[in-house]
Symmetry: D2
Subunit: 294 residues, 4 copies
């Protein structure tokens, strides 16, 4: 099955105050995303603090999310790992668990070339679900040229896609669209360039913005032939989009918003992570108040 | 003399199509900034492609800018260099040429500590004009903790200031304000967090946003006791603020806007630099059209 | 129990040709290190491709190594992880499994400061075995000043030590020795500066050099009051020390040497990793032949 | 004229205690290199602290070195700069001043591709002297694949060469030799892999090792059909080769050796640079004493 176009929410991983995995809150936040009208949920991404989990916890998050969604929306699972064999094993485990798709970023320190192509090929080999390639140089330091991505598509399972987070994204989406017309492309980066990405031909976005109904409204206005409404909604939301996308505190801001909306019980992030300062919290108050009036 | 609070425009360096320095355009763009109502102009910053100039060209830019401004606004000159003695010599040359202040970033590869403190001390030693410390880790990779900056202020010339571009900026401004109450602090980063920076106690911004009248309106509304007007103007401008602040193409976008406004004759940037793609230009058209209606 | 001074061999993790964990070879290579006369073995370090293992495989390597060593030498286990709670859980699991000590590197992206100090404190809290802090900026990008390390020692379990791999190592060892006289310090970096490190006061080395008997000879000559013999042995070994310490191919070279010595059955490293080229293999032939005559 | 095979000494830039350029010492150190029997001298490289000089000082170093050498050996001049036009102007100035060749590293932040190829093409366009491409990823972070370098050779002036410092160097030299048989390739990296580089087919080395007579002996033994003598001399020198090639203190060590040999008057390096510690100086004493006996 291919990934649905539109908005896929990148889920946080909720923790209790003692930093243990909060399973009821995971179910609750998944419902929150589903109720926002998104096409899918992505667990175990960067925002999901996947790197801060043990393998056992990753398995629990994957299982609970898939079971709790029960097919209401699609579920993509982040499985990136430095070793090809471990990534491949995670892909098969996600497939068995019922995931719609898996997401894989290039290992840190790798470079676009035959060895990296082989990494993706082996991970996708025999897989019956799509593989989403995460092109996010800011996280792992790996640059993936358009030519590499277009060629890579030939060795991936049917329906595979790119999560394109190499800014400026709109120009790269347009070039990749030309080089590989059938390859689905999703944006990310907190949705801060969502409008330009849609105009450049993206299929939607996979991102962790904590008020996903807004993203859904923008995408639906755009695909429904109402470009002015899409632009207007995007621009009204931009202060919050930019605020959530801040480095260092972005994760904390999103967890705090989800907590205030009742989607999770505690905004705790796993250490070593930055804590929210009073200045950021005060700014958040203003932004949410204004958004409520939008 | 201290730096005036408010907006200091970081100037581009105009080039002809053959990449040679365009002196008439430099005078013209300086007028453009002055006519925008800014408190000052900053030449030879990152946006000014200072690293892409020879020393002789730097001297010409400095001289022309100062002479052409003729005291209408303040002029700060970027003088960062890997060697202490060369930076110090540049500081003296800028002082002799009539600069209001000089700006110095830590050398790439240095770390916050006694040796870096000594670098700044030697550069400022005997200097009669303020030294602006550029705290911009994304450019040079050097982290400057609040404690280091507050302590550094003790060895800098009177009136010295910080250009704080280490996001999230508002929280760091608030902490630095507490640690060094008398130290002037300016934001940067394209003005994308200008409102939060002002609310956190900044003295203004030093940035290259190509429509500085908007920044001036925001700062004046804020300092004039009209926080709602400041916020409203900030949010209306945010799509363009964010668009200009994009990596890779940001410089080209700003030069293109200045060209359309008649401030420079040619949007050429020195190679090796990215060229503007049609997708980015199309998005710029939309944004400018909307801004014209704001 | 404190770590014994001397040589602790950083173990490779042997794989079969299909990249699966080769348990018999792990037992065999552990015997090889023990028979070399080392004071200890360190499993799940960088050379051990720890980042390329699943948690389940890490647990198997830890268990097999400790069981197979059966107290003949000390066993240190690498447990670094981005999250404090997971690292702490791994520390407890290593303690229960019978490890002599655990080794922890600072999470990538962290900086020397209160939050990182708290990370180490929480990991070591209540732990009855020593914690080895790996100071290896080339791997994770984190600089740990001497002052930070000396202060950190106050919150670590008794017997805790530093694996100091921040070149130039001898000078830093001397400064740390002065700042924290009771803190054990081991070198690393392939042993390429072993002589200078011993002269500067190190307690030995923890490194993956594939012919550890040579390291043992150097350390014993040094501690036995025979500095000239230590120097002579070090200098004879230096061509091979330097050759093994090469970036990119170093791991492959060491696995190939261990294979030729019969310590492991297959030199396979997990992908994504570089493969050995014929040029490197030819150079290795020459070096081993010469070493055999030394 | 092509570059002579063999050893090209990368020269330091001597400074007085006040960090001013020491012209008499520059003449003296040039004589020292020439008297060592090298084929050439390279000024304004990384070891020459080129980045810590003003443009005026660079011009003085270039002029004095060329004039003082008076054709006794070849003189290559480092001219790397972020802008194409400035690099090209420097190339022409070096040509006019009588340089044998110029050396150019890719601008930091560039990537192997058409834009970087165009940078080198424009710098070499119309140039009558060879251009040496410095392939040194550790300095500027730019990876240059073998295919890129082999293709690049087609747009460079006749006699152009590669200074290959991307370890492991021997394997890359062999691959580049196959891909571009006529392209001269020199090693670097302090000569720590000189023997393997020669065996892989290099034309010699361009490096700053402070006792260049040793490098000359190794290269002459190798080219004279005495591989065992080459290896023996290389291995005897290795402790000092490795010691000088240390990060952070390597520059200071080399200047100190040159001072002790009477080649320069003062070992001062320009700040911000590390100072030599007593531990490093003591280790240097031992190494030089032993080398004197070799």
């Amino acid at each position: 099955m291919s990934l649905h176009p539109g908005v896929h929410s990148v889920s946080v991983t909720p923790f209790a105050a003692d930093e243990s995995l909060d399973e009821p809150a995971l179910r609750s936040v998944v419902d929150y995303y589903v109720d926002s009208g998104v096409a899918g949920v992505l667990v175990l991404g960067v925002l999901g603090e996947a790197d801060r989990l043990s393998d056992g916890e990753r398995e629990r998050v994957q299982r609970i999310a898939i079971e709790h969604v029960r097919g209401r929306v699609q579920v993509t699972v982040g499985i990136s790992h430095p070793a090809t064999v471990v990534t491949a094993e995670r892909a098969r485990a996600a497939e068995r668990a019922g995931a719609t798709a898996v997401m894989v970023a290039p290992p840190a320190g790798s470079t676009a070339g035959p060895a990296l192509r082989e990494h993706f090929r082996r991970v996708g080999d025999g897989l019956s679900i799509p593989l989403v390639v995460q092109d996010f140089p800011a996280a792992g330091g790996v640059q993936l040229p358009v030519e590499f991505l277009a060629d890579l598509a030939h060795v991936l399972p049917p329906g595979s896609a790119i999560k394109l987070e190499d800014p400026p994204t709109a120009a790269k989406i347009e070039r990749l669209r030309k080089a590989a017309p059938a390859l689905p492309i999703f944006g990310g980066l907190g949705g801060t360039a969502l409008l330009q990405e849609l105009e450049a031909g993206s299929d939607g976005t996979m991102t962790g913005f904590a008020l996903p109904t807004i993203l859904v409204e923008i995408v639906e206005a755009h695909s429904g032939g109402e470009p002015e409404r899409a632009r207007s909604r995007f621009e009204t939301a931009l202060p919050l989009l930019v605020f959530e996308a801040q480095p260092v505190v972005g994760l904390g801001v999103r967890k705090e918003i989800l907590r205030r909306r009742g989607a999770i019980s505690d905004a705790t992030a796993r250490q070593v992570a930055a804590c929210l300062d009073s200045r950021t919290l005060a700014a958040l108050d203003s932004l949410l108040e204004i958004e409520a009036r939008a």
